[in-house]
Structures are given as structure tokens and as C-alpha cells.
Amino acid sequence: MGYPLLPTQVIPIAFLLAWLGTCVLFDLRTRQVPTLLTIIPLILAAAWRLFQGGWQLVLLTVALTLLSDLPQAKWRVPLGCCTAIIGLSIAGSPDEVYAMFVIFAVLALWEIGATGGADAKIIIALVLLFANGLLFIPIVLIGGVQGLVALIAQRKTIPYTVAITLGTAAWLWLGVVR
């Protein structure tokens, strides 16, 4: 905490929030986010992470994505766990360890149907972009509050992309970006 944003970071962050806002708009209208709106940022974030030297995170993401195509769940789950453990063993820093936990957790949640593919890709793109899994904490906290509101109101009307956007904005506002 306590790393103020630099003026040079304002424009990329504006683009980031504009992208997330667009995802929310699509989500509100159709309960889907177009593939291009999630895959292109995911690829760009992976390229940025590779450029920054964080190949371990990209490798884990690619490996888990490929494993998700295995036809039988009895192979996907153990192989996914083994891949995550191997990934953790080659992590370059504690931040990368948190990031790997989040990538694995998000893909596991998608695998069991607890989250949609669009939400999962957006979160993984953000984690790859910032290489910091702590970003996940404000997202899930806001998602939890949204969930409570939905439960109390007995309506499921709040898309999770709203939590992702607000959580990311909160995380950036707290000045965690280094």
C-alpha cells in the first residue's frame, strides 16, 4: 500500500477501466462478454508479463488452459493440481506465488461452474497484467457484498464483472500499483 500513481500510469489505467466498463455493459445486456473482448486483453496481458520476465505465470496459464481441454474430469483435476504445484515451485517471487494461487483458483472455480469463462479470463488477464494475486481480494470482497445483497433481495441481478471492475478500481485507488 502507499504507492501513489504516476502521471504516466493514468492513461493505461484509464484504458483498463474503459475495457472493464465495456465488459460490464455487455454483461448487463446479454449476460455474456464477447470472446474478443476477453481473449485480446488476455493475450496482451500475457505478452506484457512475458516482456516483464514473468514467464512462469504465463506458462502456468497456458498449461492450465490446455489441461482444461482434456475430455475426462478425472484427469483434469489431478493434472491441474500437479501443474499448479510445479508452477508454485518455479515462482520467481512471493507476488508471483499469490498470482499463481489466484490463476489456479479462478480456473478451478470455472471448472466446477462457479464462475463464467468471461469472468475467469478477465480476472486472469488482470492478474497477468499486474503479477499480483492480492488484486483478487478486493474483487472477491465486493463480489461477496454483491452476493449478500442479491441473497437478501432474493434476486440474482448483479453481474460479477461489476465486482471485478469495482475491485480493480479500489485496488488501484489504494495505490498498490508499483
Partner: protein
Amino acid sequence: MRFLRDQRAIETSEVAVIIAVVVLVAYGAYQLLGARIAEVVRDVAGRL
């Protein structure tokens, strides 16, 4: 690829609340016990 093609976006539900609680508990445990766990790991590594 199945994951990359999936366009679904979920609405928040009880699952989101459960995930939030699990993450809060895990983060709280890490804050409370993290230093102690690191100490134990260092101690074991030292003995080895």
C-alpha cells in the same frame, strides 16, 4: 479451446459469498500465522 471460447458471465450468488468468506478466512489466517509458519519452516530447513 473450451476455456477460451466460453463467453458466459455469471451473476453474483451464494457462491460469491462463500468465496469471499473463504478468502477472508485464508487472508486472516495468513496475517495471524504467516510469520510463525515462516519461522517453523526456517527452523526445519536449518535442522536439515
